[in-house]
Structure formats: C-alpha cells, structure tokens
Amino acid sequence: MNAANRTASTAAANAVASSLVGRRQRSVGARLFLFYLVFSTGFGLVALAVLLGTILVDGLPFLDLTLLTGAPSSNPGMAGARPAILASIMVAIVLVATALPLAVATGVYLEEFAPRDRWWIRLIELNIQNLAAIPSIIFGILGLAFLVRGLGLGPVLLAGALILGLQMLPTVIIAAREALRAVPASVRQGGMALGATRLQVVWREVLPAAIPGIATGSILGLSRAVGETAPLLMVGAATFVSYNPGLLTQYTVLPILIYQWMRLPQADFQGLAAAAIIVLLALLIAMNGFAIWMRNRHERKW
C-alpha cells in the first residue's frame, strides 16, 4: 500500500470515528436521569453503611462469649442472649418443619394441578395475594385468639412459631409458584410425551428443576419470620427468660430481647442490644448465604 492510499484510508477512518464520537454527547435529560439512578443506588448503600457502622461501633465491644452463652441478667456485665438465640433457632426449625412443606405443596398444587378457570381457585389465589399484604400485628391477634387462648396452647414457643409460619405462608407460596412457572413448558410436554402422568412429571422433573428458586424464596421468607417482633409480642413472648427454651415453654427470641434491652436505663444494655443485633444479622446472613449457595449449586440454564 502506498503512502497516498494510506493517507486516504486514514482520513476515511477518521471521518467514521468522528461521526461516532459526536454521538457520545448525551442530552441533559439523559444525564439527569443517569445521575438520579446512581444517586438512588448510592442513597440506599450509604444509609445501610451508616446503620451497620453505628451498630458495629456500639455493639462490637459487647460482643463476647458471655453474650452467646449467658442468660439474661439485670447486671449488664453478666447478661447474655443464649435463651433467645436458641429460641430463634428453634423457631426457624419449626417453620422449616411446618410452614415450608405446606407452602411448597400449596404452590405446586395451584401452579401445576388446580383448574385455573374455577372461581374458587381464583378466590384462593386472590386471598393468598392479600394475605401477603396483611400487617404482622394482625397475625399476632389471630395467634392470641386462636392458638394461645382458643386452643389453649398458652404463650409458648410453638404458638409463636406457628403464627410466624402462617404469616410466612403467602410469601413462600408465591415464591414457589414463580419458581415453578420459570420451568419451561417444554419440560412438562417432554415428560408427558413419554407416557408419564402429570404427577410423575411434576415430582421427577418440574419440582427438582424449581428447587433453587423455591429454596431462595423460602429462606427469604424464613429470614423475615425470624426477624419478626410484632406478632410475637401479641402472642405473649416473654421478655425475660433465663432458661433454655423448649417447644412448650415460655420463650423469648432475639428481636424481642433486643427490644427489651433497648428499653433498659443502663447504658451498657444499649451496647448489649447492638451486639445482639450483630448476632441476629449474622444468623440471617448465614441463612441467606445458604440460599445463595443452594441456588448457585443447582443453577440451570434452559
């Protein structure tokens, strides 16, 4: 290639390049919109960072073995959260054993088997949507009237866990349905075309394929229930429990212990409350981490 040619082609390349450069000028509106998006994202992050920072500064000095192994005490130097930590873990276990299978089964029925054109199915669906939007204190009142007084369970851990389970149902049902809906129809058709029954296809193919999504939704619902306070106040979670809880004993959970400690006059209890918040956060982060691990491990592409 000779020099003249090269110059010509460079000029042509420049012409193309400059015409593209010109388009990089964004309009004022576009810039403002982008700024707004970045600002909004940043706002949430900053707020979260400030919150976490304050709690860590207040709580870390109090985060020691006594907090994890000790029982509540009027002496801040000896006070611990062991009964509350154990009760929170037990509540989570009861939820996994009761509400979770119920919610997943409901989701599977509604998504895979229910006749969608029937009015009563629509009514059930509508009610589940509404149930998800009901304030948690209402669930507490229901628990008090129905479980604690009506069934005579009394203010025990099981009653509290069951009412949290009821509150968790709609969230998990909706998550399960969405996870099932994300399984392509071609998987169901492929199974049916092999002479499998609908039940076999759902049990062997659709449900396993939906498990990562169901697990993620379930653990998010579980985390919310474990961090819940209001309904438990209604069903009579005690604030001062110094023994290890059982299913049918009085109990306190971490959020309620935190609430209790915040109200005490001694300054050291504020620090203990912050430390208990760190413990609760660690518990929830562990649960969410498990959900993410589970999802990544089973991640499928269609």
Partner: protein, 298 residues
Amino acid sequence: MVEIEAQPDAAPTQMATRGVPLNVAGVATRTAPTDLSVEQPELVFDCREIGVRYNGVRALRDVNLQIRRNAVTALIGPSGCGKSTFLRCLNRMNDLIPGAEVDGVCLYHDEDLYGPNIDAIEVRKRIGMVFQKPNPFPKSIYDNIAFGPRVVGLKDHLDDRIEEALRRAALWDEVKDRLKEGALSLSGGQQQRLCIARALAVEPDVILMDEPCSALDPISTAAIEDLMTSLKTDYTVVIVTHNMQQAARVADTTAFFSTDQGETGTRCGVLIEVAATEKIFTKPENERTEAYVTGRFG
C-alpha cells in the same frame, strides 16, 4: 421388533398391541397376518374426518389420512395449516392444551384413540414424540433416557436399555464416556438426538417428530435425517417439516396441508393431497400442491 401377532379376540376397549394386522375395510373382520414384504404394509393410523377446535374456533377440519407401518410420513404445508395440530392429535398431546377439542375418528391399529376407555397416558407410551426445540430435562444424559423407562415401569436392565436407545439414536459413541454429565452441555443436534433416544427408550411403536430439525444446523440436520431413515425399519415415523427438501429426502409418503376459509370466516387447516413422496413432488394432482412444491405459494 417387527414381530407380528394376531389378536383376533382383542376387546375393542383395550389398546391393541403393536402388530395387529391391517383391517382393510375398517370392518370388524380380522384376517390372519400377511407377509409384510408385499407392497402395502399394515395401517398404523387410520384418521377419518379429524378436526380440531381451539376454544371453539376451528383450526383443522376433515383430515382423512392413513399412515402405514415402517415408513416415514411427512406432513408439509405453510405456517398455520394445522400440520402440527394434526400431529398432536395422534398421541393426544392436544389434551394438554386447554380449550382444544378433537373431533372425528382416529384409529390406531383399529382402535379409536379418542374412545371412551382409552387412557391418554397409555397412548403416549406407544406413540412417542420429539419436539421442535430440543427439550432435554435439566439432569444427566443417563437420567434423561432413564426417565421414560422409570415412569412406565421398565426398570430391569436399565443400563442396557439406555445404551440401546442411545445406539439407535446414533449418539452412543459421542456420549458413552460422559453419561453422568448434564444433558444441557450437549450441542443442539446432540440434544435433539438425545430426545429421540429418550423417546425410543420406552419402546414405542410410532415416533412423531414436530419439525425436529428447525432449530439445528445443516450437519445436525443431516444426522437426524439419516436417523429417521434407519428408524423406519423398526418404527413408524411421522414428521412435520417446513423444509420441502427434507420431506423429499426422508419421506416415503407426503401429505400436503393448507388453509381454507373456515365456517366462521377464520382460516382453517385442511389436508389437500397425500401421495407417495415422489408423486407429490413431481406429479401432484392438486394444483395447490403443485403451486406449493414449485415455490409459487407458501
């Protein structure tokens, strides 16, 4: 696989086993099995006045079509002509579409597929299907093939069954060392052959294929076409295709579908002409068929 057994007393409500002899006139007299080497192999499907409505709107009407054993029958025609709809009538997959209604009589080995005592699940065990887009299950290659035998109760010698199915689908040599790997890691063409193997593993009588190559590259397409030709020695194959060259290459019989104005003014699929493939592409009797195969319409 081509064993013939006469079942002169088979109750009409039971599914006929594979190999019930041709019932020429559609009357109740059954003849002893005849030698298959004579020119007309037995009928597998005898469809009379088949039509389909979706939510009351007619999509297909008056299809009279006979499908013979150990042959590849191709259904061709423009988009929306009802060929896939018709294919799904043959193994009652239309049952799964809410609002779909099938009318007419679809005899499979002399038994009405839509008869009152017919179990659609049983029908689909005998009449397998391969879909347009490869749809392997999101699990291992082995478990994909094993699914069918497991659900229909063919659990003995599962490993042999799986090897046999993969060999028949010409996939064994490519996957024999990686049976435990995920099926979704296979290429598109391999996935489609896996789906064919999966259908073969339940020992069907008929394989329906709904545009099995439309999502594949030419090399994979050639592999599947070779497969169809080899499969017809043991099975009856019905294929829907958009690709006329494909029909010309693989099919023994070709049926041309098109659309007419229906009763309510909507377009409705009809069967225009069915004949030996060579005749359809060289000397079609209907001018609409001729217009389509010569590329003037469609």
